[in-house]
């Protein structure tokens, strides 16, 4: 069953989805119809966080969002982190911190974690260890054991604070 065309705003740009199938998740539409495969497909049951995006500013699993039901909403993906237009510009603080801290190994969890950490730091610029751990507890990483990721969150928070002061 096909859906009627619907619009989304992705990383600040309006897009139209034509000829979608009824059950397609936002994750599928981003990856397979809109050419934005940065959000990842690790479990497609909301248990790993790899597909995390911001939907109208809320951190959600895009695999659990029915794409057509998100019509006219704002979606922010990893591709838009470094600048609002979605072009690869200078890295955002969280991205830089992940690179510098060695928080990236295979990288499959990375986009979702970046979105989660970015959302956290927007809300809480100076989080303590437990707050960080709880905020990323929905993002599984199988390579790092989280050590370098926690280090990256500290670095990103410090960079942001420095930039703001």
């Amino acid at each position: 069953m096909r859906t009627d065309p619907y619009r989304l705003t992705v990383n600040g740009r309006p897009v139209e989805v034509i000829d979608g199938h009824a059950g397609e998740s936002l994750l599928f539409v981003l990856r397979e119809r809109l050419g934005l495969p940065g959000s990842k497909n690790a479990c497609e049951e909301g248990e790993c966080g790899s597909c995390s995006v911001l939907l109208d500013g809320d951190l959600v699993c895009s695999c659990l969002v029915l794409a057509a039901a998100a019509a006219d909403r704002d979606v922010a993906t990893v591709e838009g982190l470094s600048d609002a237009g979605g072009e690869v510009g200078p890295l955002a603080y969280v991205q830089r911190a992940f690179v510098e801290a060695g928080a990236v190994q295979c990288g499959f969890c990375t986009p979702g974690l970046l979105m989660a950490v970015d959302a956290l730091l927007c809300e809480e610029p100076d989080p303590d260890d437990l707050t960080v751990r709880e905020a990323i507890s929905g993002n599984l990483c199988r390579c790092t054991g989280y050590g370098r990721i926690l280090e990256a969150v500290d670095r990103a928070a410090a960079m942001r604070r420095e930039a703001c002061s």
Partner: protein, 768 residues
């Protein structure tokens, strides 16, 4: 997108030398989302593939009717066993597994048919429409019955037995020894990489096929795929697509042949992506193990003899079971001097899910058992468990259970001592969220008890038993630009960073181009497994760079009439020590230079009838100390801190090394307290991340690194040992040891389930 996105390993890296925390060249594309994992690939006119799997662990297929599936609009191909163009079977050690099941299925999840269609929904409907009639037969699910049961496969139910006999068999036949005995069990662990199996096959104009795939070993995949397609290997070209973790689960074929069959049949590119549920059925797992042990020691703690019976469940197909049982057997007693041993290691075939490679590869299972035995022995001797381990610690010059004399470095005592002596940073937090049970708010402070234990792990590096283990690399220097070609699969471990570091170290350049990782134009790099790539492909890259370096120097020596010995390569120039010559490397290599090398480690021998022989190249040892909090009434656990020391030879990249140690420890924690593929009657009951639980950031404690012991390994490039596996070997044993310490319970099985603690505690309460 009209073409396959470039694989990320093609690109430049700005490295610096060995021993520095150089950043990964692929980190930036990975943080921007631009890095193309195998599931991210797209192609014009692309179709989607899917797999129909057997719901039964044991059945005869009486008929398959693909007609209703073919009739579904949008379906382009429905293929079965009879459509396999070449050899019908594959396998790493034995060709015992069918590409698509013919008349028999031997595990629940075995592929039976494949489909290509215009959309994943269409694929799903087509798979549902295929009519397969099964005559269900009684599955063989108990590995202890396998050897006597009717064979479930023409190759028989015994995959491999190694009966290792070492030293004087009567060593323990005397009075006055202290003997401890125990039976242990390890559950089936899943690698649970995050990037599910996926790939894209594109039919080529020359009749061949290009396969973009996430794998650990391109060339062995290529050879198997070509055989199954009945095609010249040159016509089957594999390119590494971005790999979302591996940990052993990508050493066997999964969807490779299926994708190529569908692409060749339809004449169109085909993409396939496993769901998480399918992934649990689509790759091998860590072998479940049942292990009986008896240790004999002098009253002063000196080990006299170790006896063990190891039974590993290989599941339906052999995969790499033969090598896994060899490791389990050879390292059954841990890194200790054991003058006499009898270890009967057996791996059998059952109708359970197939098992094969996973990080630690046989040593994880036995470590959990031998370390429990060492603690038990310490208790029986009334001796400090650290002292007992130190007293028996292996050292260079000692013999292994296999009779092999340790000739390389093996700082067992140093590893134990530094780990044990490292001060703990663990504090008791008042925050309820940090207690066992976490978010569930079940424990108050007075419900929690703390325990601590140390464990030591021991394993070989690289392939053993006479395997001709090699890696090929090419270094090309043109106009001052170095290009490295090597088919080593980057699976997240960071070899892409090491290539740059090695090249920079040898050639004095700060920029290296990494050629695409593919089967065309370069030989095999071997598998990214067995902690072998830093040594093997690192060695190949080093040697290729050294040959090119020698050629450049020779050329400049001739053109500038200076002795070869007077020339060095620094910062992109060839300079003489005397200062008379300084040539831009670009100028010196306007006429390109290149070197192709195949690197091999020292040869090894097969094990003989008694499991004796110089079967291994090199070894590594690690220790973990775990501190755990337990809520005994509920059986809930929180690992509070891990401290580790590891024998690394030499640290090549400190940040990457820490990443391996932390990540490996997390997998060890998972096996200790939560991770198990639950198999009931041959069927997996928890094939999802909802029910197969891996540690979250709230489960994983800080990992304190007490020491990275740097004793350069003779023969190893830069003296460096592989470091990937040890962190997940001793961590499990340490955590379960700490749980025993906290609870006083036997806890002879991992993962330790809450009920194992809570109901045992409740029973003990009644008994008291």
């Amino acid at each position: 997108m009209s073409e396959v996105r470039a694989t990320q390993t093609r690109g430049r890296t700005r490295p610096s030398g060995i021993g520095e925390s150089v950043r990964r060249p692929d980190a930036i594309p990975k943080v921007t989302g631009a890095f193309a994992f195998s599931s991210d690939l797209r192609h014009d006119r692309m179709l989607w593939g899917g797999t129909l799997r057997s719901p039964h662990p044991s059945a005869r297929i009486s008929s398959i009717d693909v007609g209703p599936a073919v009739a579904v609009t949008g379906v382009h191909a429905v293929l079965t066993h009879s459509d396999v163009p070449g050899r019908a079977t594959f396998g790493l050690e034995h060709l015992d597994q069918s590409v698509l099941a013919g008349d028999v299925v031997r595990y629940a999840g075995e592929p039976v048919a494949i489909v290509a269609a215009d959309h994943p929904d269409t694929v799903r409907r087509a798979l549902d429409a295929i009519q397969v009639e099964y005559e269900v037969t009684e599955p063989l699910v108990d590995p202890s019955r396998a050897e006597t049961a009717t064979p479930i496969h023409p190759d028989g139910n015994l995959i491999r037995r190694i009966h290792l006999r070492h030293g004087d068999p009567s060593a323990a036949d005397r009075e006055g020894l202290v003997t401890v005995e125990g039976t242990y069990e390890v559950g089936m662990q899943d690698q649970a990489f995050l990037g599910p199996e996926s790939g894209l096959a594109v039919p080529a104009a020359d009749g061949g096929v290009d396969l973009f795939i996430a794998t650990q070993w391109l060339h062995v995949d290529r050879d198997q795929v070509a055989d199954c397609l009945g095609m010249d290997p040159d016509l089957v070209r594999l390119t590494l697509a971005g790999v979302g973790g591996a940990f052993g689960a990508r050493e066997d074929l999964s969807l490779h042949v299926h994708l190529c069959m569908l692409a060749l049949y339809t004449g169109r590119p085909v993409k396939m992506v496993y769901s998480r549920h399918e992934s649990f059925h689509g790759h091998v797992h860590r072998h479940p193990a049942r292990m009986w042990y008896r240790h004999h020691a002098e009253p002063d703690g000196t080990l006299v003899r170790v006896e063990a019976r190891l039974l590993l469940d290989g599941g339906a197909y052999a995969s790499s079971s033969g090598a896994v049982i060899a490791n389990a057997t050879c390292f059954a007693a841990g890194p200790y001097r054991v003058p006499s041993a009898d270890v009967d290691g057996v791996v059998v075939r059952t109708n359970n899910p197939p098992c094969g490679a996973m990080r630690g590869f046989g040593a994880v299972q036995t470590c959990m058992a031998h370390e429990a035995q060492m603690d038990r022995l310490a208790t029986a001797l009334d001796m400090d468990p650290i002292d007992l381990r130190l007293k028996n610690a292996l050292a260079p010059g000692d013999r292994l259970l296999t009779g092999q004399v340790l000739t390389g470095t093996l700082p067992v005592a140093e590893v134990i001592r530094t780990c044990a002596e490292h001060p703990s940073a663990a504090v008791r937090s008042d925050e309820p969220m940090t207690r066992p049970g976490g978010a569930g708010r079940t424990a108050d402070a007075d419900h929690v008890v703390r325990g601590e234990a140390l464990a030591v792990g021991f394993k070989n590096l690289m392939f053993s038993e006479g395997f001709d283990d090699s890696s090929a690399a090419r270094c090309e220097l043109r106009d001052g630009v170095v290009t490295i070609t090597c088919a080593c699969a980057e699976v997240g471990q960071g070899f892409v960073t090491l290539i740059g570091q090695i090249t920079s170290e040898v050639l004095g350049v700060d920029e290296v181009v990494l050629a695409p990782v593919e089967t065309t134009g370069i030989g095999s790099a071997g598998s990214t497994s067995a902690s072998r790539q830093s040594w093997m492909s690192g060695g190949a890259v080093q040697k290729a760079c050294e040959e090119v370096r020698a050629a450049v120097v020779a050329r400049v020596a001739v053109t500038h009439d200076v002795p070869v010995d007077d020339l060095v390569l620094v910062e992109g120039r060839v300079e003489s020590l005397s200062g008379s010559v300084s040539v831009d490397l670009a100028e010196a290599t306007a006429e390109p230079l290149s070197a192709d090398v195949v690197y091999r480690h020292a040869p090894t021998s097969p094990l003989d009838h008694d499991g004796q022989g110089d079967a291994h190249v090199s070894f590594a040892v690690s220790a973990h100390r775990a501190i755990v909090d337990v809520d005994p009434d509920l059986g809930l656990v929180r690992v509070v801190e891990l401290t580790t020391s590891q024998d690394v030879g030499r640290v090549l990249n400190p940040v990457q090394a820490v990443g391996q140690l932390e990540g490996g420890a997390a997998q060890g924690v998972g096996l200790a307290v939560m991770e198990e593929v639950l198999v009931d009657g041959g069927r997996i009951r928890n094939a999802s991340f909802t029910d197969y639980l891996v540690p979250t950031a709230l489960d994983m404690p800080p990992v304190e690194i007490a020491a990275l012991i740097e004793q350069p390994e003779p023969g190893a490039p830069f003296g460096a040992k592989g470091i990937g596996e040890p962190p997940c070997i001793s961590s499990t044993a340490a955590v379960v040891g700490a749980l025993r310490h906290a609870t006083g319970l036997e806890l002879a099985r991992v993962p330790v389930r809450p009920a194992d603690i809570a109901l045992a505690e409740a029973q003990a309460g009644v008994d008291r």
